[in-house]
Structure formats: structure tokens, C-alpha cells
Amino acid sequence: MTSRQVISEFVMEPGTGKAIELLKGQILRIEQVEGGQCADFNCFNLHDYKEFMHCGRTRTVHGFHPTTGTFMWSAPPRERAMLYILEDTVGRNDVLFPRCSAYVYEAAYGFAVHTNCHDIQAEAQREYGLTPDDVHDSFNLFMCTGVDEDGHAFMTRQTTRKGDYVDLLALMDVLAVPNVCGADVMKTSNFALKPLKLTVFAATDADLASVPRTPTLASQRTPKDFKNPAIKSDRPLRRDPAYKPEFPNTPIVVTELPIALTPEELAMFKAVKRTDIYGDDDAAALRDLLFSWWEERFLQAHAGAPSIESK
């Protein structure tokens, strides 16, 4: 196996973050220096910052703790795989929690100023002309979280050690922005702020060959497909008097399809129909049955989640 060529190395000190140009085919390693440190992470298309990583899609496709073998996706309508998690020596990351922010530390702890992921991200992103409003929902590396029985997300201590790392392979040119999470009064990073090491490698052919193929679909749209491709450049919102709505597939038109159920079919239907949801509306219950059957028989992904299998 050929070894990876190191392109650059950097140590992020506590309280800081770093914007890194990570080109397609390069790997960013985010590594524990002492252990026990959470890293928040943002990611933008290097050539179009309006395409950025979307934790919502990532968590829907890969669950709440994405690890080795999963992707970081960009938001609709782009919906492209931006980064691939090539290796993860811990296997505990989070896409439930938002970045910590100054508000949290002021409201809950009384700090006038405190290290926080939002402001650290904003300061790191400023090197590339981005503003505090451009910081997006963060992918939280090494953060140990879960969901309570009452539906609340919780965080707890992490078990990472010196030398643990996550390797992110760029599938497009990106601005990758990790930061040392600023939380020292929470369990996130075991109540201490520690440095994190960043290394950029050139991926080997074996690295590149290990990435599963993802679909290329007409629905993955870019500004060339937009009705308004220009980025809005002022702050107030004003109505466009020339606006005419053009919602796709509208109007939605409902057609009646009468089905004659034999007594035998009616008995089958009665045995499984969802009266708990639809009461005596058999038409709605049969429609539910039809598409529930379709999901079970034909759907590749979890219901509501995009399929990432390439045909």
C-alpha cells in the first residue's frame, strides 16, 4: 500500500478554528492531541459558498452518529456528497446538536464573553470573506450524544484518546472549517479545552477507490438551473411586483379510481386497514395501504430519506 503524501499540518489551539482549502482528492485528518476534545465542523463549496453542508440531510441518510463509510451532503437543491468519512477511529460523532453560541454561555452561565463554536467559526470563516450569518449547522466530531426517552437530545463525556482521528476525503473542492469546540463548562469535551491537529494528505488511489459511488440526478440543481441565480446582495426583503408563482406540478388534481372489492378482498382489507388513523374513511385507508405496500416493496432507503445507492 502506497503511503499518503502530507500536504500541510496545523495545530488548532483551544479557542480557535481554521479555514482550510481542501481540494477534491485531498484528505483532512482531524486528530486528538491530548484526547477528549470535540471539533465543530463547517464545509462550503470552495467555488460557490452558497453550497454548504447540510446536517439535516446527513442525519436523515446516515443517522445521528455518522462515521466511517458515510458522507457529508450539501443542502437542497444541490444535494451532493461533499466529503466522505474515510476513517474514524472512534465512531462517535454528532449531527443533532447545533453549534454552541455566545447566547448559551451568557444565558445559562452568565459569561459576557466565552469561547463558543459559532463565534470561533465566524472568525475562522472571515479569512475567506464570510460573515457571521454564513456559519451553518455544524457536524460535531467526537461529540458523544443521544436522544432521551422524552425526545430531548443529550450530550455526555467522550472517550477519545490522544491520536484518535477522523479522516475526511473531499469529493469536490471545499473550504473545510473545523474548530476546537469552546465548551469547557459542559461535558462535551470532558470539561477542558485541548488543541486538535489538522493534517491534509493527498489521497492514494486506494483511498479514492474505496468511496462508494453516489447518484448523479437531474434534481441536484445548481445556479444555472435557478430562476434567480444572482445572490441577493442587500438585507431588506421586498416583494417583486412581477412575481408569478410557478410551483411545480400544480395544480394538484385528484382523480377518483373506483375499486370493486370482492367479499374476500374486503375481509383482507378489514383485517389490516388503519381505522385508528382513518376511522370509516375506507378510501383513505386503502390509499394508505397501497403506498405503504409500495414503500415496503420498492423503497431502497428509509422512508423520507434520499437513496444514495448509485444505479
Binding site: I252, L257, L286, L289, R297
Partner: protein
């Protein structure tokens, strides 16, 4: 014993999905597709009610 008529209400997108499924050779037409769905779904879920409701 007579048949019972159930009037499904389907929009054009739902009909499109049905028609694309039919085009794969799964069923001869829309009515046949619904009958197939009913048979297969009922067979797969007939024990659900006893277990506290189908999902």
C-alpha cells in the same frame, strides 16, 4: 354476496408512481395494482392487529 366499491382518491403524482410501477410489469393496470397491493399487504400484515396495530 356483492362487491363493495371503494373510491380511491389519487392525485396526478400518485397516479404517475402507480403507472411507472405498472410499466415495470408488476401489474396489468391500476386496478390490478391495487388488488396486488391489497393481497400482498394483507398477507404480510395479517398478524399486526393482534400485536397492537400495523405500522
Amino acid at each position: 354476496m356483492t362487491d363493495t366499491i371503494v373510491k380511491l382518491r389519487l392525485n396526478q403524482q400518485q397516479l404517475e408512481l402507480m403507472d411507472r410501477t405498472i410499466a415495470q410489469g408488476v401489474a396489468a393496470d391500476r386496478i390490478a395494482l391495487v388488488r396486488l397491493a391489497l393481497r400482498e399487504y394483507a398477507a404480510a400484515h395479517k398478524g399486526d392487529a393482534a400485536k397492537g396495530g400495523a405500522r
